[in-house]
């Protein structure tokens, strides 16, 4: 009885279900949840049922191109900018890291070991492409033209900081460079990037979302993958797999074949690349962007690397890894050194040019550093602004009360340290 009612509801004559050649259910499994085949053999699908996803590379560890087809044959200017930007990033890191150690700024995070990831991917994109970063992507900003002064001003939270001194150091944001302000809670940028890509569909732009091997474990990461796939968004979900999330090594972070293996499981085209090989990263990002735009679909990229620095200035990585391990990576598979060798082999760079460039860059950053340190802090009234688009009365009142108070007790406050 109940069955017949169901069938009536579905408007299917019951004959069709059980008899005849034109059966509704085909010979193979017809479950709506998967398109697949039957098997009569009961066995687990395991990690080793599939070969691990190989790591795409262009150069070997010594900076020699393995297959000439892989060399993107970039023009001299581009190659030199790529290399110089990598070294600029190193210099910024060194000076700002040291300044934190000296107590001049409160916090810093270095990018050592990820230079090729930042520069290789940034070089393959256009300025119009929107970047959602995690926090360790300063090289992307260097490539896009964020100046040494702007880095320093942000870390000092001074008058000229684009972020008005409201965020911790390294939480950069640059609307003019389409670089969305860094947000502290992990992975929140991932579904947001997919949402932004959704909004930008069909506009010839992609969104690139960087995240770490640790951030990939958050619920948001999985949501981003699934929504990217189901909403068909032009987004590159770019994992920087540097082996560690603070002290947590990847073996405690996941048990599958890294982050890349999750891509196909969500129905997403996926690439795994050598993050120490700037050309591999460049080629992968170029291909990913092309596919995203042509198909209006997402791509997962996993760039394999090694975090050479401490997680941040709040971390001492000697507590959980050996100096030997770090040194080995730094010397035998270093992304910047690899590119340097490539350039020198091509006759585009020399030790003399290197010395000269490093010296000039260091001076430039030091000048910016000294200037940034001297600049006053933003006007104190900035702390009342931007809570809402239009300042509500109660906040305005608080602001005016504070102004009266500060005017009255000027001598008690370090007013000269603030912009007026």
């Amino acid at each position: 009885m109940a069955t017949r009612k169901c069938l009536q509801l579905l408007k299917i004559p019951n004959r069709r279900l059980f008899h005849g050649n034109n059966a509704l259910l085909k010979e193979g499994p017809s479950f709506p949840g998967a398109q697949t085949t039957w098997t009569e053999k009961l066995s687990f699908v395991t990690k080793s049922s599939y070969a691990p996803i190989p790591v795409y590379r262009v150069m070997d560890r010594k900076g020699s191109v393995i297959d000439p087809e892989g060399d993107p044959q970039l023009p001299r200017e581009t190659l030199l900018k790529m290399y110089k930007d990598m070294r600029t990033l190193n210099i910024l890191d060194k000076i700002l890291y040291e300044s934190q150690r000296q107590g001049r700024i409160s916090f810093y995070m270095t990018n050592y070991g990820e230079e090729a990831i930042h520069i290789g991917s940034a070089a393959a994109l256009d300025l119009e492409d929107v970047i959602y970063g995690q926090y360790r992507e300063a090289g992307v900003l260097v490539w896009r033209g964020f100046t040494a002064q702007q880095f320093v001003d942000q870390c000092y939270g001074n008058r000229d900081d684009l972020g008005k001194g409201r965020q911790m150091p390294v939480h950069y944001g640059a609307k003019h460079l389409n670089f969305v302000t860094i947000s502290s809670p992990l992975s929140t940028q991932m579904p947001q990037a997919v949402g932004a890509a959704y909004a930008l569909k069909g506009k010839g732009r992609v969104v690139v979302c960087y995240y770490g091997d640790g951030a990939a474990s958050e619920g948001d990461a999985h949501a981003a993958f699934n929504f990217g796939a189901t909403l068909e968004c032009p987004v590159i979900l770019f994992c920087r797999n540097n082996g560690y999330a603070i002290s947590t090594p990847v073996k405690d972070q996941y048990r599958g074949d890294g982050v890349a293996a999750r891509g196909p499981a969500f129905g997403i085209h996926t690439l795994r690349v050598d993050g120490n090989d700037v050309f591999a990263v460049y080629n992968a990002t170029k291909l990913a962007k092309k596919y995203c735009l042509e198909e209006s679909k997402p791509v997962v990229v996993e760039a394999m690397a090694y975090r050479l620095g401490h997680h941040s200035t709040s971390d001492d990585s000697t507590a959980y890894r050996s100096q030997d391990e770090v040194d080995q990576w730094a010397t035998t598979d270093n992304p910047a050194t690899k590119m340097k060798i490539y350039l020198m082999k091509k006759g585009l760079w020399s030790e003399d040019e290197e010395k000269k460039f490093l010296k000039e860059k260091r001076e430039e950053v030091m000048t910016a550093f000294t200037a940034g340190e001297k600049k006053p802090k933003p006007n104190w009234n900035e702390c009342f602004k931007d809570v809402y688009k239009f300042m509500p009365e109660h906040i305005e009142k608080q602001m005016n009360d504070m102004k009266k108070h500060v005017d009255k007790y000027k001598k008690q406050y370090p007013v000269d340290q603030y912009e007026t």
């Binding site: 944001g173 609307k175 302000t181 929140t188 579904p191 947001q192 959704y198 949501a223 929504f227 809570v387």
Partner: protein, 360 residues
């Protein structure tokens, strides 16, 4: 002073359910509309007005929404504007926040605000703070909406008021509407607002009809966010409430009126910004104050109002201590009789008023 525990008054509460239209006599001729339809028309009108507006949430499209608030909208606007999502609140909230950052105007529906707990980081840390943290460069025009507060018989994890939670957070605007006009005018305002707005609806009220003025029926009926409404003027005591507690208060005021006590009932409408001026002006007139809410007492909306009165000139106008009437300080019981006992009913308001005014 400890908050007053609501008493179990099955009869009264039962009657109350059938007496929802008690206050409409004056405008009985006005068109009636359910809260659900008022919300639906607000969404419909704003989607027509601005093509950046879209709805995202679980089962909002073909299924018309868990409580049918989005009925017909998917048919009318299609997949692009009404988007069903996998079951990941944190994910679709983040997507909505990102889309808002990129210039769209998402309306993010939660099956209930209890499930928005999964997404609260996106709501507070991302939507609520990005404008500030980006130095005023990236605003997040977004509406988070869905049923809030106690429903009926759905147990502790589905029956709680998040008014105080969200009202606590700078960067958010929080609306807790009462009737159909509130819902229509304020949801439209929320969608047009440049900042993130948390819009707390009430499941029990969805099916209740309220009168709609001609003005409220028009396409450009928008109510101001941050302004309370005096639902009923009076001179003896001020009763401040939001959402369904407004109804409780109006019922109590009706009963008090028959005893010669004229209560002024203020419908807060917005919890943040809180319209304290309307309250203080009323207290200056009545010299007595009771707040009524269904949420918990601790750090609640009533607590906030009392604190602000204490800190202001209005304190000197009080003849008696101000009193909070709240839901009881426990997770919501599932059992019906206990559930009724856990929420303030008109009788509680009447008793407390008489006590404050020292009448028998």
């Amino acid at each position: 002073m400890a908050p007053i525990k609501a008493t179990s008054l099955l009869n009264l509460a039962g009657k109350a359910l059938h007496r929802r239209q008690f206050s409409v006599s004056k405008i009985a001729s006005a068109k009636q509309m359910t809260v659900r339809d008022a919300l639906n028309s607000a969404l419909d009108e704003e989607m027509t007005r601005d093509e950046r507006v879209f709805i995202i949430g679980e089962e909002v499209a073909q299924y018309d929404g868990a409580y049918k608030v989005t009925r017909g909208l998917w048919k009318k606007y299609g997949d692009k504007r009404v988007i069903d999502t996998p079951i990941t609140e944190m994910g679709f909230t983040g997507i909505a926040v990102g889309a808002a950052m990129a210039g769209l105007r998402p309306v993010c529906e939660y099956m209930t605000f209890n499930f928005a707990m999964q997404a609260i980081d996106q709501i507070i840390n991302s939507a609520g703070k990005t404008f500030y943290m980006s130095a005023g460069r990236v605003n997040v025009p977004i509406v988070f909406r869905g049923p809030n507060g106690a429903a009926a018989g759905v147990g502790a994890q589905h029956s709680q008021c998040y008014g105080a939670w969200y009202a606590h957070c700078p960067g958010l605007k929080v609306i807790s509407p009462y009737n159909s006009e509130d819902c229509k005018g304020l949801l439209k305002a929320a969608i047009r607002d440049p900042d993130p707005v948390v819009f707390l609806e009430n499941e029990i009220l969805y099916g209740v009809q309220y009168p709609m003025s001609d003005q409220a029926l028009s396409n450009d009926f928008v109510l101001p966010i941050g302004k309370a409404k005096i639902e009923r003027p009076g001179k003896h005591i001020t009763i401040v409430a939001h959402s369904r507690a407004v109804e409780t208060s109006l019922q109590a005021a009706n009963e008090l009126s028959s005893k010669g006590i004229e209560a002024e009932v203020i419908n807060l409408r917005s919890l943040r910004p809180l319209d304290i001026n309307t309250i203080t002006a009323s207290v200056a007139k009545t010299n007595h104050l009771i707040t009524v809410e269904q949420g918990w007492p601790s750090a609640g909306i009533g607590a906030e109002i009392l604190a602000r009165i204490m800190e202001s000139e209005a304190f000197f106008h009080l003849d008696q201590p101000a009193i909070r009437l709240t839901g009881v300080d426990t997770p919501m019981p599932y059992t019906k009789s206990l559930e009724m006992a856990a929420l303030p009913v008109p009788k509680d308001v009447v008793e407390m008023t008489k006590k404050l005014l020292k009448v028998k």
